[in-house]
């Protein structure tokens, strides 16, 4: 046993693995929404915890990049912290929590509120890349359905939902059609975020490590959420504003305050919320607190 156990290449992956992933990424961009199979590697974090996103990020990242990692919209959730620390260790890369400063944003379950720009790449961690999987568990079958552009079953399923629940009850991982051809799983982001994928200025890459698939949406590409004429796609709306920064029309987390039904809503995108507060925006709860604080001081 030797001490050189811990010598790894820049960004952990060996060069041959990176080349293989890079080739898959180029094909993924050339065929928007199509899932390219790749020989996913074991990573030093568990499958299902972002190994696909990590492999994509590791294959594209360079010394000049600035990395942001979010989970549930937040930079300080434990898995985001862990992945960010991993890249700091193996790629010695600059990191940030500011969406606007990042060149690569790796995400689980959210798209930042702030509009992404040309120079940015959004890397999604994907658990189940196959949007048809909940209809058909077999890869051999779903691959055929994509090949034949046979998506009728998906529409039937969504319509059944309407018949039973009165509306499409799917709230996250809501299927989209990319550039008019492939039905794609947007990863388990709330459908609130689906419209942000449409004609985005940024390149969007998706990595599913355990399922060994990479797919992509190039910038300025049509991404349409599946729906029906009589039941058009609609996103979640929140009656409340963020209690901390007063933001409206953003995705909110419900925070339970006590065991008597007390709750508040705050931005799920922590950077967006902090940025707003720095710029003087004040939500209801913060305003209340500052009044209390002043009274106490007087």
């Amino acid at each position: 046993m030797s001490a050189d156990l811990a010598t790894y290449n820049f960004a952990y992956l060996d060069e041959q693995t990176k080349r293989m992933i890079r080739r898959a990424i180029l094909k993924a961009i050339a065929i928007p929404g199509y899932q390219v199979p790749f020989a996913s590697r074991e990573m030093p974090m568990p499958y299902g915890w972002g190994t696909g996103g990590v492999q994509v990020t590791a294959s594209i990242i360079g010394p000049d990049d600035v990395l942001k990692v979010i989970d549930q919209g937040a930079d300080d959730t434990t898995n985001a912290v862990s992945i960010r620390a991993f890249f700091q260790k193996v790629a010695d890369v600059a990191v940030t929590t500011h969406t606007k400063d990042a060149t690569i944003i790796q995400t689980r379950h959210r798209i930042p509120e702030q509009k992404l720009t040309e120079g940015q790449v959004l890397v999604y961690q994907v658990p189940i890349p196959e949007p048809l999987r909940f209809l058909e568990p077999r890869e051999t079958e779903t691959r055929k359905m994509h090949a034949l552009e046979e998506y009728g079953l998906m529409h039937v399923k969504l319509y059944e939902d309407i018949a039973i629940n009165g509306r499409i009850s799917k709230t996250y991982a809501y299927p989209v059609k990319v550039d008019g051809r492939y039905v794609m799983d947007p990863s388990p982001t709330p459908k609130f975020d689906n419209p942000k994928m449409h004609m985005s200025d940024a390149l969007q890459l998706f990595g599913a490590g355990r399922e060994k698939r990479i797919y992509a949406v190039p910038p300025h590409t049509e991404v349409v959420s599946l729906d029906f004429e009589d039941y058009p796609f609609e996103i979640q709306t929140f009656e409340q504003d963020c209690a901390l920064c007063g933001a409206h029309g953003v995705y909110l987390d419900e925070v339970v305050l006590d065991d008597k039904g007390g709750r508040m809503f705050v931005c799920s995108d922590t950077d967006h919320c902090e940025d707003r507060r720095e710029h003087g925006h004040v939500g209801a709860m913060l305003a209340q607190d500052s009044v209390k604080g002043q009274e106490a001081a007087e």
Partner: protein, 368 residues
């Protein structure tokens, strides 16, 4: 006021510190050495090597210790290390006919050339807890026979001699065995890749599937043609030298299952094969693997696919415990964004129903 949870970093550091403390346990006890793990918990080390697809006893022992004895965690540690290793080439196929057998049993013949050799087995031990192990009493040296070193013929060769068992499979001369750690998996897969997947598959999962075939879910009438455990030579062709050089010896367990026979208008009835080969000493795994291998040959042999163990996509997609544990355990990661979406949907649907009900009552009231 509400303060968002911060300090994930500190929490993680502290958790890992506590983990290290628990791993070490009572400091008044001597800490366990890698050599002790490799020597005295050898079968745990074997399992870790087998399912990590990396033959290195010391590193596997380190992984067992680092994982506090959680073998799936240890397998994961060793796999994650394995992926970072450069690939120099592939070895010449192991020749288990030349194995220095330490154990060799057959259920199909009472007596056979080379004999039955029990070796270091738990079989026929009475499963009574042994207090002598508490006292660390001296252990007798093993009895050993004269060093023979002669090769022991394989039971399958005895049957093959008479043409009673199907041939070993005929891969084209230029067939290069696939490598499922380097290429994306695709279904249906060749038997070479399938056996690779089974060899690193979870012992418990394969055991349960093998068991299910015995209970009627894809029955294939197995007999243990032979189980052999022992050391074999690993050789690699060096093109520059023009011959194969030895890289060393490793212990493996091989199981050849002799299964239900089959005949057709073209071929006379023959027994069929199920095959298992595992690093180290792991009879349970090798036997389960050969049962499942045979079950997965259903399509090739023209049998109806009716049971889970015969379903290649189902078996192979779920046999990898590192993948399985990652995905099952990822459910403990935060999912509150999606849960929020579901929460809002359920509230909204309940409000719809409530509104519809109120509407009905009002109508009734108005009618009365």
């Amino acid at each position: 006021m509400y303060v968002a949870v911060k300090g994930g970093e500190a929490a993680i550091t502290n958790a890992h510190r506590l983990l290290a403390d628990r791993r070490r346990g009572d400091r008044t006890l001597p800490s366990i050495t890698i050599e002790q793990v490799a020597e005295q918990l050898g079968l745990a080390v074997d399992r870790v090597m087998a399912e990590a697809s990396l033959h290195d006893r010391s590193l596997a022992a380190l992984a067992v210790r680092q994982s506090r004895g959680d073998l799936i965690e240890a397998i994961f540690l060793l796999r994650a290390y394995r992926t970072t290793l450069p690939r120099f080439g592939s070895s010449v196929p192991l020749d288990t006919a030349t194995m220095q057998v330490e154990r060799r049993v057959s259920a199909t013949y009472k007596d056979l050339p080379g004999g039955q050799l029990l070796g270091p087995t738990f079989d026929y031990t009475h499963r009574l807890l042994d207090p002598s192990l508490l006292a660390d009493e001296a252990v007798d040296e093993p009895a050993s026979r004269e060093a023979g070193g002669e090769e022991v013929m394989r039971v399958s060769d005895i049957l093959a001699h008479e043409g009673l068992i199907e041939p070993d499979g005929d891969l084209p001369q230029d067939h290069e065995a696939g490598d499922l750690t380097r290429e994306p998996m695709e279904f249906p897969m060749g038997r070479d890749l399938r056996l690779q997947a089974l060899a690193r598959g979870d012992e418990g999962f394969l055991l349960a599937l093998g068991y299910s075939t015995q209970r009627g879910y894809g029955r294939n009438h197995p007999f243990v043609g032979e189980i052999r455990i022992g050391e074999v030579e690993v050789e690699m062709d060096i093109p520059e030298l023009g011959f194969a050089v030895s890289l060393g010896r490793i212990r493996v367990t091989e199981c050849q299952m002799v299964n239900q026979f089959k005949g057709s208008s073209k071929a006379p009835p023959q027994f069929t094969r199920g095959y298992g080969l595992v690093f180290g000493q792991s009879e349970r795994k090798a036997m389960s693997m050969s049962l499942v291998d045979r079950a997965l040959r259903a399509e090739e042999l023209g049998e109806d696919i009716t049971a889970p163990a015969q379903d290649e996509e189902f078996v192979i997609s779920h046999s990898d415990n590192v993948q399985a544990t990652g995905f099952v355990e990822h459910l403990k990661l935060p999912h509150y964004v999606d849960f929020q979406a579901e929460l809002a949907m359920v509230r909204r649907m309940r409000a719809d129903i409530e509104a519809a009900r109120n509407g009905e009552t009002e109508m009734k009231d108005a009618a009365e």
